[in-house]
Symmetry: none
Subunit: 209 residues, 4 copies
DNA sequence: AATGAATGAGGCTTCATTCAT
DNA sequence: AATGAATGAAGCCTCATTCAT
């Protein structure tokens, strides 16, 4: 069997095992068995547990970002929607992808962030990409509304972080609640967020009493 | 030294070690050393690694919930504020507590959820408590507004989940970004969420194009 | 059983196993078994295969040097013999010790020198001590004879090296030939070497044709 | 590429790798890579690691013995020098060869002797050849001197062993000390040994005080 | 109330070797 | 004449846990 095929089998098995057991609890023995190969072959191709995990993180992160990008992009590969349309498309793609790849999502969201610097940094880079994308979208909306009081970069960053965090949380909720569709999750968040953002852009603020 | 004091030393050491290293990577050896006691004593008091970790989760979960409750409650122990005031107080208490107990927060938010059922269930119970609290708050607001289209329980639950997720994400963001205060984090989320909720209650919805 | 005793058992087992099998071929499993303890205990006390091997080298080197020193020294701890008497005493002690500790000698002479820098350096230090001792002895003899052509430091060093090499070779020969006593080996080398040195000191040289 | 050439490439790679890493630490993978061929080819031609190592020992032993023989022999292939001349020529050839083939010398002197019987026996056979040669030479000298007390075969054998050991030690010393030539090493040993032997033949003995 | 001494079990990694082509 | 693909076996090391005092 050609090397490329075997490598994909192993990575699939690794994502599944890491996602379900965690980095430390997953054993190379189990990964090899799930992949249907012997352990030495895993080492021959993927070198070490650490490299294997890193490769999993990279592959799943790239796949997730690609899915979101593809959702946002129009047919010509360039995003040609208004900001809210882009956000909607991105969220839908995000929830669809995380629902279709629960193990990959677990690797990124749960495992990679909890097992030390080499891995956390890897996934932080991907998350930053998503946060930057969201920051840009609400930045556009803010500039259009151009009102007082204006938003600082830090305000926008915090908002984007809250939004991405809400999306991550909803992805878990959707994965663990039967019958929730990607569109429903996207709708919930979109209603909430876009309305909230709209209010903020219109100058509304909450203040004590 | 009395048993209660020793036990607290050990739990402190365990929370710190579990929070920084993760459940599997933390060794009973290191915990005992950090606690300044011998390993058999840890076993005498806490019985096993699993029980020790569970005890840590329970203690930290209880502390977090208590902090939020205390923040929300008035001087007589009963919450006597309007819904938005309660949410503000709860968020402030939440961000204050997570900032002051980063290791405990790491145990709850990162470690407990990534190491299998016995632990995930433990922390899920606590999270459900927070979600239920938030659900109740926005349920009250929704009932006050009593408008069309009404919110289903599932809608409220999804919203509360998104809100709690956003709060968790902001807690991490605040812990890793220098100079962010609990009040700032609470303000960001409050502005965003209460405005958004207000809009939703007023019947606003986002829809494609 | 107290730690010190156990440690000695382990080191004895390690010297024996390393001496007979070689560094790589000796397994920690076998060492533990020979020592009559479990493997983890070996690691608890001696930390790693590398550290264990280094400890063996150091212990055996110190023992050999101490044996030679004790042989050379008079009853008051200071060497009070003439140069030839010291050499004789040192050689006798050397051959006696290597015959009584064949595994330790194998560790020093065969294994430590063939398994890379960390170990080779360790044993080279000890050998240099012996070479320096011999160099000093023949240096004294040369100065007494004070003749022409004089010996350079390098000449003396080369001679001492040859002498030590001859002694090492004879130690192996004595260990593998039944019925050879330490005194016989010392006598052979002493006759040969002291006569040769005497001739050299008297100005004799060999030259082609 | 013809088989004989390939085989030589592999043996060269093996000698180099075994000499530098040791028998156990050298991997067939590295040998194949250094040789520039695939591993199965190494097995096709050399059958196993053990056979490969044995073949290396034999080849290098034969080369060393041949070099010494060639050095000793006159132009007609028969040694026609007196005993001391033969010893000088043999030593010079020995030091020259070991300096020019350090990896081969390491295989013979360090690795083959430290990795168990099959290999140690192989190199012992070669060493015995050299010892026999030296024994014969000094035997001739002894017979010429025909004096009292006579030398037993064992005396001669012990002497030859000491001499060969001194030569081996000097070979290492020369290989590790910059600027030492084969002639210098041979001269040092020759001066020392021939003078010593001459003294012995003349009946000199060393005795305690 | 507390610990020094000890181990069964299991995980990561590497290696010599073979098969099918 | 030559190799890409593959594995059984074994070695180093660590860990949760217990016993005797």
């Amino acid at each position: 069997m050609p090397r490329a095929v075997r490598e994909r089998q192993m990575m699939d098995a690794a994502v599944r095992t890491f996602g379900r057991r965690g980095y430390r609890a997953a054993s190379m023995d189990e990964i090899a068995e799930v992949a249907g190969v012997s352990k030495p072959l895993v080492y021959l191709y993927l070198h070490s547990k650490e490299e294997l995990f890193t490769a999993c993180i990279r592959r799943e992160a790239a796949a997730l970002v690609a899915a979101v990008r593809a959702g946002v992009a129009g047919s010509d590969g360039e995003p040609d929607l208004p900001a809210d349309g882009q956000l909607w498309a991105g969220l839908t793609a995000f929830f669809t992808h995380t629902a279709e790849h629960p193990d990959g999502w677990a690797v990124l969201h749960q495992q990679a962030r909890t097992h030390g610097e080499p891995f956390a940094a890897e996934v932080a880079a991907m998350r930053d990409e998503l946060v930057a994308f969201v920051t840009a979208l609400i930045g556009v909306a803010a500039r259009d509304a151009r009102q007082d009081p204006a938003f600082s970069d830090r305000d926008l960053s915090a908002l984007a972080n809250a939004l991405v965090g809400a999306a991550e949380s909803l992805a878990d909720w959707a994965n663990h609640t039967p019958g929730v569709t990607a569109k429903e999750a996207a709708g919930t968040l979109m209603n909430f967020a876009w309305t909230g953002l709209g209010g903020l852009m219109a100058g509304h603020r909450w203040s004590r009493s």
